[in-house]
């Protein structure tokens, strides 16, 4: 077993070296595929983070109180709503706390808020409901109080957001699957050339009783190595490019949308796993497919 593995690895390097141009062509195509994949991946991850953070904001119902509303009345409203079975959580957010939080969110850019003439934010009750569908009941209840100025909630917005992201995700997955299939075809065609160059040797291997897996071994390893090299190149390239992108536009995006971009370290960590898994499977599937015809009998 161990001998067979060592044999396969040795042979893989020998034949990969002999077909250096073809191996490089394969690595080039898989790397290109993985880089396109990583663009989709980066967009998806950032979109997900944005959507999650938007959902958190929008899944709460904000009950804005008139400035005149007394503390007594505020507590009455709070207790009544807290008693509703639909409500998960409710808390009071004073206008000063709200402004402080806003400033904290903006971090380095908070000085922009210093120019506000007065605190424009109302005192509020922030309600979380377990199910978005329960929000209507809470809104109805809250509307009955005269101390309530306005009720902000975004059931439809959240539902639309979820729908849009779901279809974007499906589209992205379809494109990724397509790219993976294309990569497998590319690798299998490359390896098929190696296999054909050695078809005489393979027929002798079969005559002397080599098992199909033993015959496949070197080609399988060759495919896996091609996949791994492509994965390594792709991770390094995408990390580098992404970190440049963050350096250039990260700040602007944060200012525009109030959401930070996913950090490079998170991306690299995930891409390493995804690319290695993809590279190895593309290489392995490609080589197994390329050999199918030669191992029928």
């Amino acid at each position: 077993m161990l001998n067979s593995i060592i044999y396969s690895i040795k042979q893989a390097f020998i034949q990969g070296g002999r077909n250096r141009a073809m191996s490089l062509a394969s690595i080039f195509s898989i790397t290109a595929m993985l880089l396109i994949l990583s663009v989709f991946f980066i967009l998806m991850v950032n979109m997900n983070v944005a959507v999650e953070s938007a959902k958190q904001d929008y899944e709460t119902i904000q009950i804005y109180l008139l400035d005149e509303t007394t503390q007594e009345e505020t507590e009455k409203i709070l207790d009544a709503i807290a008693a509703m079975p639909e409500v998960d959580d409710i808390y009071y957010l004073s206008k000063d706390d709200a402004l402080a939080q806003w400033k904290a969110d903006w971090g380095d850019s908070a000085y922009l808020l210093d120019s506000l003439p007065a605190n424009p934010l109302p005192n509020a009750l922030v309600v979380s409901v377990g199910e978005l569908a329960d929000a209507d009941a809470v809104v109805e209840q809250a509307q009955q109080y005269s101390g309530v100025e306005d009720i902000m909630y975004y059931r439809e917005t959240v539902e639309k957001l979820v729908k849009v992201t779901n279809s974007l995700q499906i589209a992205a997955i379809v494109i990724m699957v397509f790219l993976v299939v294309v990569s497998i075809v590319v690798v299998s065609n490359t390896i098929k050339l190696t296999v054909m160059a050695r078809s005489h040797e393979i027929s002798i291997m079969k005559y002397v009783g080599a098992t199909n897996w033993f015959i496949r071994g070197p080609f399988l390893v060759e495919g896996i190595i091609i996949g791994l090299i492509s994965a390594a190149i792709s991770v390094v390239l995408s990390a580098f490019i992404y970190s440049r992108v963050i350096a250039v536009v990260g700040q602007d995006i944060f200012l525009m949308m109030g959401i930070p971009m996913v950090p490079v370290s998170f991306l690299v960590f995930n891409l390493v796993f995804i690319f290695v898994a993809l590279g190895v499977s593309i290489g392995a599937c490609g080589s197994i497919i390329s050999m199918r015809r030669f191992l029928d009998t």
Binding site: N3, Y7, S203, I204, Y207, V208, G209, A210, F214
Partner: protein, 249 residues
């Protein structure tokens, strides 16, 4: 031991069905030396391919060394092939490997240790009489020497059956006889030999069992001469124009 029972194999082609073998029943015992003769297209290669399980029979039963191989799982095909060595008319050596490496290759393919390889390859090279050529490449050898390497490769894993598909077809008469003596020697060690040939004089002088196939059927099975005189003139003409007819000119 090889046993065919009512074996039929037909090939589908654009012109309909070609008969490969038709209802063939035959038994070859362990240690036998059998010549398989017949005109081109008779079904000789089909017979060999069925033994090696390169192709599937349509019906009937085939046993090799007591193992029924007609519905053998793919996983067990390598085991079958390790018990059956094969040599061809065109030698089929690996040109970039030395003689030693060509023979060692067959052992590497079945996971033999380096030590076993270093011990057995020289032994088998000496058995086939080319010890001094171990580090030469195939294109530095004569046809007879190349066929000896092919035989060494076929027997190095000690198969019980050695199949030879026209092993002397590319060799001159004298070299052909050297190969025949080698095959006889291997047969004396207990290896069953099935040899396809068109060489009348070899079959006639060896005096071994002769199985004649024509149009997919066994038409003769006895000990003796290449032809028993019953063949049609058309076939006789073909036999006389065979390889040795050519060399005789």
């Amino acid at each position: 031991m090889i046993e065919f029972k009512n074996v039929t194999k037909r090939y589908r082609s654009s012109k309909g069905l070609n008969v490969g073998l038709e209802d063939v029943s035959i038994k070859i015992n362990k240690g036998d030396f059998v010549f398989l003769v017949g005109p081109s297209g008779a079904g000789k290669s089909t017979f060999i391919k069925l033994i090696m399980k390169e192709i599937e029979a349509d019906s009937g039963s085939i046993k090799v060394n007591g193992m029924e191989i007609t519905n053998l799982s793919n996983r067990l095909i390598p085991k079958l092939r390790r018990s059956t060595g094969i040599v061809f008319q065109d030698f089929r050596l690996l040109p970039k490997k030395t003689v030693f490496e060509n023979v060692a290759f067959a052992m590497e393919m079945v996971h033999m240790s380096r030590r076993a390889i270093r011990r057995q390859v020289p032994q088998v090279l000496s058995l086939v009489g080319i010890s001094d050529k171990a580090h030469k490449y195939p294109d530095e050898l004569s046809g007879g020497e190349q066929q000896r390497v092919a035989i060494a490769r076929a027997i190095v894993n000690s198969p019980t059956v050695l199949i030879a598909d026209e092993p002397t077809g590319n060799l001159d008469q004298e070299t052909a006889w050297e190969i025949m003596r080698l095959l006889e020697q291997i047969n004396l060690r207990g290896t069953t030999i099935v040899m396809v040939t068109h060489a009348h004089d070899i079959v006639d002088k060896m005096g071994k069992r002769v199985v004649a196939i024509d149009k997919g059927r066994v038409v003769r099975d006895d000990v003796g001469m290449y032809s028993d005189g019953s063949e049609t003139p058309e076939h006789q003409g073909m036999y006389q124009g065979g390889v040795f007819g050519y060399y005789a000119k």
